[in-house]
Amino acid sequence: MVNDLEAVYRDHWGRVVATLIGLLRDFDLAEEAAQEAFALAAERWPDGGVPEHPAAWLIATGRNRAIDRIRRDRRYEAKLKLLEPAHLVEDDMDETSFPDERLELLFTCCHPALSLEAQVALTLRTLGGLTTEQIAQAFLVPEPTMAQRLVRAKRKIAAAGIPFRVPPPHLLPDRLSAVLATIYLIFNQGYTSGGMLAGEAIRLGTALTVLMPDEPEPLGLLALMLLQDARRDARFDDGRLVLLADQDRSRWDSREIAAGRAALDRAVALQGDGPYMLQAAIAALHTEPRRDWGRIAALYSDLASLTGSPVVELNRAVAVAESEGPEAGLRITDGLDLDGYRYLHTTRGELLRRLGRTAEAREAYLRALQLVNDPPERRFVEERLAELG
C-alpha cells in the first residue's frame, strides 16, 4: 500500500497541481491544497481503498480544502468567486470533470522571462512533485537557496503577469524549444548525477508527447532520452569509463531502446526534422550491431547546419574518421575553435595514434589531461597515454 501511494503521488501530483493552479491562479495555494489532498489520501485510502478516479478525487479534495482555507483567510476573499459551486462531492467526479492543465503549467514554468535555473526548479517542484530538498540536492545547491529561487519565481509569475496558457501558434515554436531545453537539462543533470532526475525528465517528456501528440520534437526528445538512458549502466565498469564500442550490450536496457525507437519512428512519421529528432536518430544508429558511420556522419552534418555548433562538428569528425579514415576526420577537427574542450583533444589524440603520429598524439592527450576533472575520465586519458608508451 505504501508503494501504491508513492506511485499515485508520482503519477498524479503534476496533474493535480496543474488543475488546481488553473482553478486558483495561485501557485502556493494550489501546492498547499494538493499536499493536503495527498495527505488525506494517505490517511483514508489504506482502509477505504483507492477511489475509481484517483486524480479527480485528489483535485476535488484539494479544491474543497482550498475553499476552506480561503473562507478562513480574508486575504483570499476575491478568489472565492472562482470556486463556484462551493463544494463538490469527491466520489461523483471522474477524470473529465476537470481540465488537464499540465501543458499550461509546463509552458508557464518554462516561460523565457524566468531564468533557466528557475524554470528547472519550478518544473521539478510543480509538475514533478520533487521536494525543495530533493531539487537542492540534485543541483548541489543549499536548500534555502533553492527555496528562495522557487519563491522568487512564483512571485515573478504573479507580479509580472506571466500567462497560464499554451502559447498561441506564432509563439509556439520558440516556447516549445524552451520547454524541451528545460526537460533535457533535467535529464542531463540526472544522467551525470544519478537516476532520479533522468527518470523524472523521461516522465515529463512522455507526458508532453501525450499532451502534444502532433508535434515531432517532443517525440524526438523522448526518443533521445530513452536511447541514452538505456545505456547508462553500461557506461561505467568498476569506476572506469567504457566507450560505446566497448560497452557490454547485455547491460543495455532493451525495453528502453525499443521504446526510444518507437518514439523516433513516430517523430519520423510526423515529418520531424528538428535537432532532438536528429540526435535521437544518431543515438538509434549507435545501438545497431553494425554502426553505419556514413549515415551517422550525414545526420551530424544536418545537425551542424541546424545548430552551427562546433561540438556537433567534432562528433561529425569522429563519424567521418570511421567511414573515410582518420585523416579525413582530423581535417575537420583542425578547423574547430574548441581548444578548451577536452573531447577535442581526446579525439585528436585517438586519430593521431591511428595514423602512427605518436608524438602529436601524446601532446593532444596531455592537453586533454589538463582539462579533465572527473576521476573516471582522468583515468581514461591516463590509460591512453600509457598505451602510447
Binding site: A113, A159, A160, G161, I162, P163, P167, L171
Partner: protein, 119 residues
C-alpha cells in the same frame, strides 16, 4: 495588467545623434518613425515623454542633509534611460510583443518591461 516599458537606447542611432543618424538610409529613418508611430497608436499604449541625451542628465543625492549633484546619469551612459511608455495589456506576452517592435530593441538598445505596482 499595467506595464511600464523603459526604453534604453544603448548605441541606437537617433536624431539626437545626427552623425550616427545620418548613417541610416532615408528608408531606415522613415521606418523608425513609422514604428514609433504605430506603437504609440497601439490600443492600451500611453506614450511617455521623450528624453534628451543622457549627457544632459544631472544626478542628485542627499547625504547628511547635503545635496550632492553630479554630472551625468545614474546608470552608465550607454545603459541610461532614453524614454518610456505605459501599456495596459492582458499579460506579459503581450508586453514582450510590443517591446520587440520598439526600434531601440533591434538597433543596439534594449527595452525593460516593469509591471506597475498596484496598491
Amino acid at each position: 495588467m499595467k506595464y511600464v516599458l523603459l526604453i534604453h537606447q544603448g548605441t541606437t542611432p537617433t536624431p539626437a545623434t545626427p552623425e550616427e543618424w545620418a548613417k541610416l538610409s532615408p528608408e531606415e529613418q522613415q521606418q523608425v518613425y513609422a514604428d514609433y508611430q504605430a506603437i504609440n497608436q497601439t490600443p492600451g499604449v500611453t506614450p511617455g515623454t521623450g528624453l534628451q541625451l543622457p549627457e544632459t542628465a544631472t544626478t542628485v543625492r542627499v547625504q547628511d542633509g547635503r545635496t550632492l549633484t553630479t554630472d551625468g546619469p545614474f546608470a552608465e551612459t550607454k545603459e541610461a534611460l532614453g524614454g518610456w511608455l505605459t501599456y495596459e495589456a492582458d499579460d506579459l506576452d503581450a508586453a514582450i510583443e510590443l517591446a520587440s517592435r520598439i526600434p531601440a530593441a533591434r538597433m543596439g538598445g534594449a527595452v525593460e518591461i516593469r509591471p506597475v505596482a498596484e496598491w
